[in-house]
């Protein structure tokens, strides 16, 4: 599928690494959520998580396809998803952290959703029309995801003693991975300079307000440690990604060059 919209003169184009990283974020999230299908705490959860997974995968496919077009080497969405190694993946470290229990998955989702609603909203104004178009669709889904994850963090935080304990632990464990998405790197700065991408440092305040509001209502403590583990955007990952890619890429690596 070709995603790129026709570009009138004077409008800017996103760079390959910029589009790729957002594709990677959504692909890895979809892959993670795919593991929950048929394992959820209730049938309704299975359906909700599957919906969210399908959403992330849809966005990932559009972005990876566009990234391949920008690169201009003939790589399509599958070549990029299935053919790159850990060091070539540029997703956030947060999304590759294991699912853990339902609290961990919901905490991870809350943190990502609060970021993505800012990101897609900002990107609807991107100078790159293709990115703006993709974001226009993605923002609606992200708003829904945020409602869902907020709802669950609140219910688990302000539920039973056990759920409160698990939810607090999940928030504490994942907190150190939340800084990366609010810390611009050189690629972000290049894109901001040509009005393709937003200044993600500006997300910090709304992100923090949103997340704090949810955690407060959930009767959870907001962690105060501001250490931010970085590296995903430059291909320095945690040990989890390798295993994830092993499963994702198994078929294509075992049976290369075939049509499925």
């Amino acid at each position: 599928m070709t995603v790129r919209s026709p570009t009138p003169a004077g409008v800017a184009t996103a760079s390959f690494p910029y589009v790729l990283r957002h594709g990677d974020d959504n692909l890895i999230l979809a892959q993670q959520l795919g593991e929950w299908i048929s394992q959820g705490p209730e049938l309704e959860s299975d359906i909700a998580l599957a919906n969210i997974a399908v959403d992330h995968l849809g966005v990932a496919r559009m972005l990876l396809t566009y990234a391949g077009e920008l690169e201009g080497d003939g790589r399509d969405e599958d070549a990029l998803a299935m053919g790159r190694t850990e060091r070539q993946y540029t997703n956030l470290l947060l999304v590759e952290q294991p699912n853990g229990d339902f609290a961990t998955t919901m905490a991870r989702q809350l943190f990502v959703d609060a970021y993505q609603v800012e990101l897609w909203a900002a990107l609807t104004g991107s100078a790159d029309p293709t990115l703006a178009g993709v974001s226009g669709k993605a923002i609606k889904e992200a708003s829904y995801h945020l409602r869902h994850s907020s709802t669950w963090v609140i219910r688990l935080g302000d539920g039973t003693e056990e759920s409160h304990h698990r939810m607090q632990r999940a928030v504490d464990d994942l907190w150190r991975f939340t800084g990366e998405m609010l810390t611009p790197d050189a690629v972000d700065e290049q894109m901001a300079a040509i009005w393709v991408g937003p200044d993600i440092a500006a997300f910090r305040r709304p992100w923090t307000e949103r997340v704090t509001a949810v955690l407060d209502q959930a009767t959870l403590q907001v962690p105060t440690d501001d250490y931010a583990r970085l590296g995903g955007r430059s291909g320095i990952h945690t040990e989890h990604l390798g295993h994830l890619l092993g499963e994702l890429q198994w078929m294509q690596r075992t049976y290369p060059g075939m049509t499925w």
Binding site: L27, S38, A50, L64, A81
Partner: protein
């Protein structure tokens, strides 16, 4: 016995029995079991396909598989809802499933060992379902019939996507074609077993016939499934693993070999290849989710205003 006469009159007139109508207890028990087991089948059926979501060979196949499994969850939910109108809760049905007193379609007790299995079970299992779906929309019980109408509307892509996988494999490399043949070899006989025992061994009472939940001849439907599916296998260039399969040119029907009835009853009784694993997976998900469900209930109890919010 005016209630019973009224009930029978509604059924005979092709009208629907609705939840508040009087119904014979046996009818109610049979319907609960039938609908619940249909729902259980959808839910358990998520597992063999769910097994390949993280390993789908392309992103497109991954997306299709996710959507299909999500649909199955939804179908299970519609069916549990229909069964609940008969005075049983979903929790109770889950317990009957978890303790092995309710069953689900045996086809899902086989393992999905290769990607080609996604094609084979989509093609064969949904193919078998085709022969039933339309009929079930005419169930005498209103909520079940309506759930089936909803399910049928969503089924359209399920039926084709399995066959499309097989077609792609059979048009591919020798290795892919061998994978497809291997999958057909393993899934053919379990598919025939889905239609149940020989008619002579089926238990259906005259009452079931009168209540319009009688089973059509198992053998007749199995024969029609074979007639429909063998040409599809021929089109793929695959060989059905039945040395006795032969076409009667005069009638156009196929004669086929005998099912291994030992295997059939073994699987029905719970000792098939994956019976334990399927149920354990279900039990484990349920048990591990208990604290989540309790937390949500606890939250609701703490915040009663949430019970009647305006949207």
């Amino acid at each position: 016995m005016e209630q019973a006469e009224r009930f029978q009159a509604i059924v005979d007139a092709e009208d629907k029995i609705e939840p508040t109508d009087w119904m014979p207890e046996e009818y109610r028990k049979t319907l609960i079991r039938q609908i619940a087991q249909h729902a259980h089948s959808e839910i358990i059926g998520m597992q063999p396909e769910g097994n390949w979501i993280t390993r789908a060979p392309t992103l497109k196949r991954k997306a299709i598989l996710m959507a299909k499994v999500q649909d199955e969850a939804g179908h299970g939910l519609y069916l549990y809802s229909a069964a609940e109108t008969l005075g049983i809760t979903r929790d109770e049905m889950m317990r009957l499933l978890h303790t092995g007193r309710h069953k689900y379609s045996s086809i899902f007790n086989y393992p999905t060992l290769t990607w080609a299995d996604m094609g084979a079970i989509g093609w064969l299992v949904d193919g078998a379902a085709i022969t039933n779906q339309v009929m079930l929309t005419r169930s005498s019980y209103g909520p079940y019939a309506r759930a089936m109408v909803r399910i049928c509307k969503e089924e359209s892509f399920h039926q084709r996507q399995g066959y499309e996988i097989m077609l792609t494999l059979c048009r591919g490399t020798d290795e892919q074609k061998a994978m497809a043949q291997d999958a057909l070899d393993r899934w053919w006989w379990p598919s025939l077993m889905m239609f149940g025992p020989h008619d002579a061994e089926s238990t259906h009472t005259e009452q079931s016939m009168a209540w319009k939940i009688k089973r059509i001849s198992n053998d007749e439907l199995r024969r029609q499934f074979v007639d429909m599916t063998v040409p599809q296998a021929d089109y793929l260039g695959l060989t059905v693993p039945d040395p006795e399969l032969r076409r009667d040119d005069a009638t156009g029907h196929y004669a086929y070999g005998e099912i291994d009835w030992d295997e059939f009853w073994t699987v029905v009784k719970g000792d098939g290849p994956m019976n334990r694993e399927r149920l354990e997976a279900k039990n484990r998900a349920w048990d591990q989710g208990a604290w989540v469900r309790e937390a949500a209930s606890a939250h609701a109890a703490k915040h009663p205003a949430h019970q009647h919010r305006s949207a």
